[in-house]
């Protein structure tokens, strides 16, 4: 096995992990405000299909990214209206949103199946110009990959170092207390969902117009649920989410490495490792209140009289 193939594996792991990290960050934000979004799969699909469609029509991938973000936020607003305003059950509404996304993305994307686009431009990392062309091309990244770490840190700063983040987490722990201290839980939850939708849109955009550069029906293939699992794995913390995404990318990379070296381990079994690790983490931290989920996650806020 050559150095080139190993580097290639790492490069593809970075590409596949990026969309996941954005999505996970989005889910961290709204789970911190007390809303679990099981419809992430549908949100991703609608964002991905609309961003791909816009990129084909206008030829501008940056416009595609913008539309993906808007689509993600709009989808999350549907969820928000139902669970915040109409006080519907979050799990059921999320699953309904997933089916909605299956259908809507299929209609949006249908005319564009099989089309090719010029994806987001890639920039070579500085300092690698001296490398052979093939190596340098492996490590030339698009703007979304370059921004993913700064955005993770930004999300951490927002949640843990600003007044808004404090209010958001207070709402997620106990909406009544947050209300009593002068915060509007409904507003915080809408804001969290909007922000989470924007981030999920970034993830979907990276998947559709930077990584795979095409659209196929149900192309996310479970990424929404992986993100929900990674939120639990990272115990609702944006910086640990980086570790979670790395874990998943690592599993992908490991799998590709094994395949290229001819080892006989089923890729299906390797795919399950992130889930089992998440389960182990859950069991290990199960008794510890400090590390558990936001206390009012999944609860309906009925308002204080």
């Amino acid at each position: 096995m050559s150095l080139l193939s190993i580097l290639g594996v790492f490069s593809s792991a970075i590409f596949s992990g990026t969309s996941l990290l954005y999505t996970t960050l989005g889910e961290v934000i709204h789970e911190r405000s007390g809303i679990v979004n099981l419809g992430l799969e549908g949100v991703l699909l609608v964002s991905a299909s609309s961003s791909f469609a816009v990129t084909v029509i206008t030829g501008s991938p940056f416009l595609g990214v913008l539309v993906a973000m808007l689509a993600g936020a709009l989808m999350n607003m549907v969820l928000g209206y139902l669970v915040i305003h109409r006080k519907a059950n979050q799990l059921a509404t999320g699953l309904a949103l997933m089916f909605f996304g299956f259908g809507l993305s299929a209609i949006i994307g249908k005319p564009y199946v099989g089309m090719r686009i010029d994806g987001l431009p890639r920039y070579a990392l500085p300092g690698l110009e001296g490398l052979p062309r093939l190596y340098a091309s492996l490590f030339s990244f698009d703007i979304l990959i370059i921004l993913v770490m700064p955005i993770s840190i930004l999300v951490w700063w927002l949640l843990f170092r600003t007044r808004w983040g404090l209010g958001l987490r207070a709402v997620g722990e106990n909406a009544d207390t947050a209300f009593a201290s002068g915060r509007n839980p409904l507003l915080y939850r809408y804001q969290a969902l909007a922000l989470g939708g924007l981030l999920a849109g970034l993830g979907a955009a990276h998947l559709a117009i930077a990584y795979t550069m095409n659209w196929t029906e149900y192309m996310t293939a479970g990424r929404g649920f992986i993100a929900v699992a990674l939120v639990i794995f990272s115990r609702w913390h944006p910086l640990r989410a980086i570790a979670g995404a790395l874990l998943f990318s690592g599993a992908v990379a490991f799998q590709l490495l094994l395949q290229s070296s001819g080892a006989q381990i089923s890729p299906f079994l390797l795919d399950t490792t992130p889930y089992f690790l998440t389960l182990l983490v859950l069991i290990a931290w199960g008794g510890n209140r400090k590390q558990s989920a936001p206390a009012s996650l999944g609860r309906v806020y009925h308002g204080s009289e």
Partner: protein, 350 residues
């Protein structure tokens, strides 16, 4: 997009049943109108589409039989959610339990090919239920000892199960022609069908389970104790009800139901185990059970309605040149409208 149900005029009928029927009709109409808007935007004729859906599902006997076929798995997976919900457990893991049940049943079908049909099918049924129950055991146990919430664990295991099935198909069971499915089952391993349609014995399983579930909850001591746990687990424990045992058994029974749905789908519907054969049957069961409030009759009605919509979707794909998945929009809009209910269920809170 979501419906604002406050637009409805406040109709006050003397009988609450009439009232709720009218409300439901209004809700479904609203969903149909919303979907019509989406059809119009994507350049389709909504009226003709609805005529297509209606004609293919109620227009002839075969179409109606297809509705029943589509109803079988979701009716059973809805019951798989309903039973644990009576002791307060939220089983989001129907999807995974369905896959594992299907895998267990397939193992039986491939290993004991030479048994007579009645024996082989009984064996596969038991294996399917065993598989589902085993898949539900870990979440149930972790919940019963108070370690991890069952919602999270069942959800995680959902993503694992299809991959395990993929591993089994790819690694051991795939047919000579095709690596994404097993060999076709022998005839003895296929559930019998009725009257030349695709309606299979799974429908009888589903209806028996439904009636048994209703009778069990209403007339047995265990049903009463389960409802007591669901109402107030603390109080039930103080009254000497073995809460932990009930939690584990109820969850595993739910898993067994979902496993049976997987067995019925592979043995009755496909006659072969396919990679990723279910996209969301288990989740659909969760939605149906939730919308019906866990009530057996409501589950029957809701799963019938969902089956009508999905079966009609097949026709839209053929005649309207829409992707099959498009019907999910109508499905989701119906669900959204029902979920946006608050005033609607006030009278009949379980």
């Amino acid at each position: 997009m979501a419906a604002n149900t406050r637009f409805f005029p406040k109709v006050a009928f003397s009988s609450p049943i009439m009232d709720s029927i009218i409300r439901y009709v209004l809700m479904i109409l609203l969903a149909l109108v919303l979907f019509a808007v989406i059809l119009l935007i994507s350049g389709q004729d909504p009226i003709q589409s609805y005529i297509d859906i209606f004609a293919t599902t109620f227009g002839n006997a075969y179409g109606f039989s297809e509705v029943l076929v589509a109803m079988i798995p979701i009716l059973i997976t809805a019951l798989a959610v309903a039973l644990p919900s009576r002791v307060g457990l939220i089983n989001v893991g129907g999807e995974g339990q369905l896959y594992i049940g299907a895998a267990f049943a397939t193992w039986g079908a491939l290993t004991f090919q030479h048994l007579p049909a009645w024996l082989l099918l009984s064996l596969m049924t038991l294996l399917g239920m065993l598989g589902g129950a085993l898949w539900a055991f870990l979440p149930a146990y972790l919940k019963a000892i108070g370690l991890v919430n069952e919602t999270i664990t069942t959800l995680l295991l959902n993503s694992v199960a299809p991959k395990l099935v993929g591993f089994l198909i790819f690694g051991f069971w795939h047919s000579a022609m095709d690596t994404v499915k097993t060999d076709n089952f022998v005839d003895a391993a296929k559930l019998p069908t009725f009257f030349g349609t695709r309606v299979h014995l799974g429908l009888v399983f589903a209806l028996i389970l439904l009636v048994a579930f209703w009778a069990f909850m209403k007339y047995t001591r265990w049903g009463l104790e389960m409802r007591a746990i669901g109402g107030n687990a603390q109080a039930a424990r103080r009254n000497g009800i073995p809460v932990k045992r009930y939690l584990i058994i109820a969850m595993c029974a739910g898993g067994a139901f979902a496993g049976l749905a997987g067995m019925a789908q592979t043995s009755g519907f496909y006659g072969v185990l396919l990679l990723n054969f279910s996209i969301g049957l288990g989740f659909m069961g969760f939605l149906i059970c939730w919308l019906a409030g866990g009530d057996p009759f409501g589950i029957l009605l809701m799963s019938f309605m969902v089956a009508v919509i999905t079966t009609g979707g097949n026709m839209l794909q053929l005649t309207r040149d829409l992707p099959y998945a498009a019907i999910n929009i109508l499905l989701a809009l119906t669900l959204f409208v029902v979920l946006a209910k608050p005033t609607f269920f006030e009278r009949k809170k379980p």
